[in-house]
Amino acid sequence: MSETALMGESRQKLLLDLVGVRKTFDGFNAVERIDLSVMEGEFFTIVGPSGSGKTTLLRMLAGMDQPSDGAIYLRGESLNDMPANKRPTCLVFQSLALFPHMTVGQNIEFALKMRKIAPAARKARALELMRVVRLPETYYSKNVMKCSGGEKQRVALARAFAYDPEILLFDEPLSALDYKLRKTLEKELKDLHRETGKTFIYITHSLEEAMVMSDRIGVMRDGRLVQVGTPEEIYTKPSDKFVSEFMGEVNIVQVRPDGAGRYRSEDLAGSFTVNAPPSTDGYVVIRPEFLRFLASPSDADNHLTGRVHNEYSLGSRVQYQVRVGERMFLVEQPRRQSFGGGDVTIGWDAADAIFVAE
């Protein structure tokens, strides 16, 4: 694991340590033997498709589910036998789980009330937190169910902060919001993380969301953590085809060594130069922005010939679909180019492609 890389700032200390954590439901392994360390003050995101076990993992961290096997340590002390209401963790639910019979203020103050803090102090803290999450003070006695989606989100956040947890856990809290609001809240969350200095553990199925906010990302698949690293590491060095596909739109070519130092594909003509360990089957992953149109085939290490099938504007860039035989490749260019409708040559350099073993 590449912990040294991200521990550039050496003041970071180990906060949470998962050792061989496993969870079985009725013989089905929802989470299989996870080992993971999370640093103090880190924004750690677990990303994976639905059913990959990320929510189960989060619920175990929150104390709502118990691991079938393994242990969770907080600063070296086992959390296994500590119930949810005693743990220094607080979960922001996907459903938000606001208390529908309470006002905004009562929701935020809930944790303080449970600690029997005096009403005046509670209110002062609630108003302070409302400022932090950018909720108007007038909302204090508003019924929480009358708030908009974004406002509810902020109430849920403030309510979690009021508990003053060491670790805030987020279970896809933004997934129900529209794109624009989600973008705004992603940034706000990131800001809040920096302002409060708390440790955030965040779950999402959107890698894009993970990229924007996280210090580190863990990719989950079928109950396993397949890769853990910084957004950049995940982006540039996906550990396998699954991770690389999960990163977004990429071109993937399955290749085999041809015995002469080059690689060939089953469904594409020609052989390619690939930076890979010798004699290993695998996939070449080429990001659309690393594919380019070539004036002559010798302008890049590898080339393919096809026809432009379609083009899309992505705002700042233009994406082309290029048909090569039966396959479709994505090419992204900063500017629009025009093609006559005849054959085009596309290509990439070996250094720009990523090789992942089978």
Binding site: N85, T89, S95, F99, P100, H101, M114, Y163
Partner: protein, 304 residues
């Protein structure tokens, strides 16, 4: 939709009436009409008859043709001891409801959260007796508790001691009422609890609430609508209970429904029986409305 309905309305009345009038029945009202008619016939009509009878001359059938307060005066006559029956009926019902809520809550909680796949079986066990007539079930209990009955005989076999005498007492009436009305408290409560989002309970625990605090602050307020329905339903039913007192209790106490029955039968005094029925309806109805206002459903559900 609305416009379409109005056009039909217009077409219907065009032959007879002036064209330019407002809709006298919205589509909703017209859809509700059959139910309203049914309620009027099935509910309002008998109730009106009972109220009218309560103002008729005592011991007569001069309903609608005589008007007197004599029946009410008779009930409030200081020498009349019928207040004892009111007291017994209301207090038995109150205690029944109180005990039922204590018993039914854990069962409902178990059915929603704990029993898992067994909760179906448990609810069938609670529903099944409802298919058997209440009287038959109560006679069954008599055979269980009676001298030399199942209970007594079993104790004799096991330890040689006689079973305590429980039949024909107010205590056994209470037992019978709790037994009979348990499902009517249980199922509204189950409904109330099952509508309670699991996440909300988890969130409360996560925010540091103890089991008791979760119950007080979250479960109870959110299950309150179901709880209220159960409370009111069982209270109203229990106030009207008679079989428990007759079959199990050997009429060791006289409940109001017995007085009403006697008025309508042996006493041939329908007006007095009606006046008693009107009074108990007013008491339970008033209590119901009071509780419903006090615990506004919308407020409980947080929609206001």
């Amino acid at each position: 939709m609305k416009i379409h309905a109005l056009q039909i309305q217009d077409a219907a009345i065009s032959g007879t009436a002036k064209k330019s009038r407002g809709p006298f029945l919205t589509p909703g009202a017209r859809c509700a009409l059959p139910v309203i008619v049914l309620l009027l016939l099935g509910f309002a009509a008998p109730l009106t008859a009972v109220i009218a009878y309560s103002f008729a001359e005592p011991h007569s059938f001069n309903v609608f043709s005589s008007f007197t307060f004599a029946n009410y005066a008779e009930i409030f006559n200081t020498e009349n001891t019928v207040w004892m029956s009111f007291l017994w009926s209301l207090s038995l019902a109150a205690v029944t409801v109180l005990i039922l809520s204590v018993i039914a809550y854990p069962i409902a909680y178990g059915m929603v959260y704990v029993f898992g796949r067994w909760s179906g079986l448990v609810s069938i066990l609670f529903v099944f007796p409802l298919f058997i007539s209440e009287n038959v079930r109560l006679y069954g209990w008599v055979l269980f508790f009676i001298k030399n009955g199942v209970f007594d005989g079993t104790l004799n076999l096991l330890g040689g001691s006689d079973a305590p005498e429980v039949l024909y007492s107010p205590g056994i009436i209470l037992f019978g009422m709790i037994y009979t009305y348990l499902p009517y408290m249980l199922f509204p409560l189950v409904l109330g609890l099952s509508l309670l989002p699991r996440d909300v309970v988890d969130a409360a625990k996560d925010l540091g609430a103890s089991r008791y605090q979760v119950w007080r602050e979250i479960e109870l307020p959110l299950a309150m609508p179901g709880f209220m329905i159960g409370l009111l339903l069982t209270f109203v039913l229990a106030v009207g209970a008679i079989a428990e007192s007759k079959v199990l209790g050997g009429q060791s106490v006289i409940v109001l429904t017995h007085d009403i029955e006697v008025s309508f039968t042996y006493a041939q005094n329908w007006p007095l029986g009606s006046a008693l029925a009107v009074l108990i309806t007013l008491i339970t109805g008033g209590l119901t409305l009071f509780m419903l206002f006090k615990l506004d459903l919308d407020r409980v559900l947080g929609r206001k």
